[in-house]
Symmetry: C2
Subunit: 249 residues, 2 copies
């Protein structure tokens, strides 16, 4: 769709007042990363987002938005909060281009935004900007700049939710590649929790859940002793999820 058509006909295609913002989280270089977009005109950064087509559910809309930005079909997607403060789009005018989106355009409406976060495998993603942006990059969560509207608050809430969920959801399957080492898994948890963990106890705890399978193969190429590779045992993973896990971090 063209930008002009989008601005002109958006209000016919999408539900008014409702938007979706996505916090797309990846893990790389021992750090959590989020996908950010750079606004075309003023260079400000924002979270990937979009709108809800008149016949789409929220989940479907979020899935579409994520697919457009990442190229991924299947990803772990969780709605986490809906943001509806009338002041959340403070200084909105400064982000809308008068020629393209003149006052009176549906883009000037007040929006309630449904927040989703997605956990993705970093290497599988090919970031793609949308109609309103010309760059799409991963950004270390410690280096996130000022974002438009209340997007910093949305990001914070997403990460807070992710940390809470860490106790009952094994994020490794979604954030790590199919085969990974125990130290990699540990770094992931240490990064999210922002605290160091004991190697041996971590391994014992993880293996105790019985959702990991150790392969005979080891990961070579590193500068030190080659660690074993692991992968998630899908069946046991699903089963354990249904029964409810208690990580207790």
């Amino acid at each position: 769709m063209e930008l002009n058509e989008f601005v002109k006909k958006g209000h016919e295609l999408y539900l008014r007042h409702i938007s979706i913002d996505c916090v797309i989280v990846g893990f790389h270089d021992e750090q959590l990363k989020v996908l950010l977009l750079k606004w075309k005109e003023n260079g400000q950064w924002c979270l990937p987002g979009g709108f809800v087509r008149k016949d789409d559910s929220l989940d479907v809309a979020a899935t579409r938005i994520l697919r457009e930005r990442t190229g991924l079909q299947d990803l772990y997607l969780q709605q986490f909060h809906t943001f509806g403060d009338p002041a959340r789009e403070r200084n909105k005018e400064q982000f809308l281009w008068p020629r393209t989106m003149p006052p009176g355009s549906w883009m000037h409406d007040r929006f309630i935004s449904v927040g989703y976060y997605a956990l993705v495998e970093f290497s599988q993603v090919t970031p793609q900007p949308d109609l309103l942006t010309d760059e799409c990059h991963w950004c270390d969560i410690h280096d996130v700049p000022d974002l438009i509207y209340d997007h910093n608050a949305i990001l914070d809430k997403a990460l807070e939710t992710l940390r809470m969920r860490l106790n009952d959801y094994p994020v490794g399957l979604n954030l790590l590649p199919a085969r990974f080492t125990m130290p990699e898994l540990q770094r992931l948890y240490e990064t999210i929790l922002d605290t160091p963990l004991d190697r041996r106890n971590f391994q014992k705890k993880m293996l105790a859940f019985g959702i990991l399978e150790r392969l005979t193969e080891r990961k070579t190429g590193g500068a030190h002793k080659a660690p074993y590779l692991y992968r998630f045992d899908r069946k046991k993973y699903e089963k354990a999820l249904k029964q409810g896990l208690k990580f207790g971090f």
Copy 2:
């Protein structure tokens, strides 16, 4: 506001496409109760709900709705999920009265509904119906009838969320009267978790958090040994909340 005015002018006053549904939870007779409303015309039951005024935040709107139904100013209120399946209002027409809300009325729009749950002290509530309903009652959560739209699903999700939160939030302060006995507190937890707990271990665990204060007074009138009364120590309660609790049920 009159019903007619509400139907005629609602779309000017409220954000379109957006509603709020509330799961108001109380505790009485050793059971969890929810507040339900009975539709005027067809006698169907539903959750209390409402709409968002153009200048109100979601939280403010939810607070207003809850105040109108319960008479309470301050209550514990949590947004828990937003429901946006286009099929969620299946058979909607059957709940709208053609004479009052003719086709074309804003009430026929598709609505995205933001779900809130509230924990209230049962005895403080004076249930009040709204414009569209003529009854407002507490209902035991085990006896909830078929509700309109997807309200049963909304209720289930709220209770699921409540159960999850039980591990990091002490619900007693909101659901019990100011002064209560340890057995009463235990019944509350047993009811929510739907599992029996050991008296002694429960007491030890609760007291270990240091957020309860035992009064010298005992509760008399029961047919047996008079149990001590307790109350929450507000300061320690707030402090513990900020630090994060781990109940571990």
